[in-house]
């Protein structure tokens, strides 16, 4: 009953009501800048994974770029006559912009739900779930609306490796890993319970 003894006979000073050690802060600039960096890192990983998968499976490293471009210019981007250089530049720009956008959204969602300081494994789970939602909303809801011509033109293997799996196994986990390593907005790792607090000044009347 050591715990009970210490609680029952606690002689520490009282903390101010409703106060605690702040573990997270929400600084918009910090969220945007780190969201951008996380998005760039995860987007780079996703792009590499897509190119490697496409090269290995179809011997076509350009396909992921063509698909990214097709979102904007339509199915003609998938035609063999579409210039490879344009596909490379435009595809990279579009992919990067979307990666950064979703990276910022990920950081924003974490901050809004007080999850910037989440346990590392939970953060990994958040990354995977977020990436799945991005994939689902983008490819199942948005893409059919803005590029209906792409419906049914993608074989299962491509969609699995270049789509769902690369999102859930590369993009999301990389976003999460960035947050776990850098911990933007995190002031205290609350699950490390052995650490002592900094000195706290209490209100005079307490």
């Amino acid at each position: 009953m050591d715990g009970f003894e210490s609680r029952a006979h606690d002689r520490h000073a009282w903390a101010p009501p409703r106060m605690g050690v702040t573990v997270e802060r929400r600084d918009p600039w910090e969220l945007v800048s780190h969201g951008t960096l996380a998005g760039l890192l995860a987007g780079l990983g996703l792009g590499l994974a897509a190119v490697v998968a496409s090269t290995a499976r179809r011997n076509d490293p350009w396909l992921p770029f063509d698909f990214a471009v097709a979102v904007v210019v339509g199915p003609e981007a998938l035609a063999p006559t579409f210039p490879a250089a344009a596909s490379l530049v435009l595809g990279t720009v579009i992919h990067t912009l979307l990666s950064v956008l979703f990276g910022v959204m990920f950081l924003g969602a974490l901050a809004l739900t007080f999850q910037l300081s989440a346990r590392p494994l939970m953060m990994l789970l958040y990354g995977v779930v977020f990436a799945f939602l991005v994939w689902e909303v983008n490819f199942l809801a948005v893409l059919p609306v803005i590029a209906p011509e792409l419906r049914g033109r993608v074989d299962l293997g491509t969609q699995l490796w270049n789509g769902l799996l690369s999102y859930c196994l590369v993009y999301g986990p990389l976003l999460a890993l960035y947050v776990v390593r850098v911990r933007p907005g995190t002031l205290d790792r609350w699950w490390r319970t052995g650490r002592a607090d900094p000195e706290v000044t209490t209100a005079e009347n307490l």
Binding site: S6, A8, H12, A13, W14, A15, G20, W191, T193
Partner: protein
Amino acid sequence: MDLGFPLGIRLTHAFNLVFLTLLIRSGIEILGGHPMLYFNEHCRPGSEWIRFTSKRMFRNLRWTAEDEKQPYTPWVALPGRDNLGLGRFWHFVAVIGWVFTGLIYVLVLFTGEQWRRLVPTSPSVFPEAWMAAVAYLRFDVPPAGHPYNALQQLTYFAVVFVLTPLQIATGLAMSPAVSGRFTWIPRLFGGRQAARSLHFIGLVAFVGFVIHHVALVVAHGLLDGLAAIVLGVEAPTPEQRAIAVAIALVFLVALIALHVWATRRSLQEPRAVQDALQRILDPLQARLLQPLTSRQRYQARDITPDPRPNGRPPRNREYVDLLERGFADWRFEVGGLVRHPLSLTLTELRGLAAEHQITQHKCIQGWSYTAAWQGVPLRVLLDRCQPMPAARYILFRTFDEKWEEPGHGEYYNVIDLDLARAPQTLLAYDMNGQTLPTAYGAPLRLRLESQLGYKMVKWIRSMELVSRYDDIGAGYGGWRADRLHYSRIAPI
């Protein structure tokens, strides 16, 4: 097979959205009462698997569970800004509406052919569901089924017949009256805290389902989907599509207006909202849950090593003097509508027939702990003082001046006389084999094991039998009911 969407399905779909959104927002408000979730029964700080708060508690200062609350914005929570009492009222009223809507929905399903939408009748549904998933993965839309494709059918079946009952059962498992009377219910889920965690995961699953559902409705064709669920038309004309969109937009605007009204009214006129919702809820609680008596039998090994204290002990001169003298001068006064008023010292109380019990304390905020209590059953005192026929309630007055919230009066509580005679209702003077520590209510506290913790007053001064309570405090039957809009009765 063209089953269409009959009016009953369309209306219950709409009402489901109304009640589900109310449930989600008020559920978030309740979560803010203790924004940590556990898969253990002791709720030790740091042992939570997930938390939704910007702070952790001090390690070198004293704090109580109330300090852990996290106010949420009214943009998300109903009503927001740390209104646990009203959030619970909204949640439970919405539960009634949601369950009623669900029962009508199931009735419509099974009184016609509509059940074929959701209930798989062949094992082939699994390979067919895989084929449908493959089609979605290829950005394609699988062919319509009967009328749903197999993946849709399995998903809807799981939501209606697995997830929904699970939410109701885990919700009930958190009720002190239900879990105290039927102790196997929380055990089904691994305990009250696991049930609370599963209840939250169910909420996330519902939100995830809504996102998934909307995404796939868009993938299948938003306008045709709207025409089907709004007008019940399967092959709509352009005019019908336009009408369906207009009705859907009006409905969404009305839904948002309802939420805005409920939130603003709760924040601006909390007492009026409490009065209105309490009139709906309390008779139901009193009839269905209040009669359930606690039969908890925990073991010594279940006792929580370091239970959370709640509430700051009194520090007025009278209490401090009594405490310094070991409560030797303290007398427990029993009066009001009784034939034989009592005035008992702690030693005299200890001389009465004592009972011992190991029970789980369930706080309204969401946390819990298990402890051993010893004290005198309240029914023993009632037999001695002999209440008059007019007595209906017991008023407990305390030494707790709520010094951390000056100007809000002394803590008091009113309980029903029937509850006082229930098994496991004690006035406890020992906790975990020791004299009741100050932090947990010395010299005497109430144990009312079928109710939430806030009904179990600590630092008791006296008890008084009364016929009414509307002339005490603000008239709502307790300090928290008066100030924080909690319910007077707390079986859930």
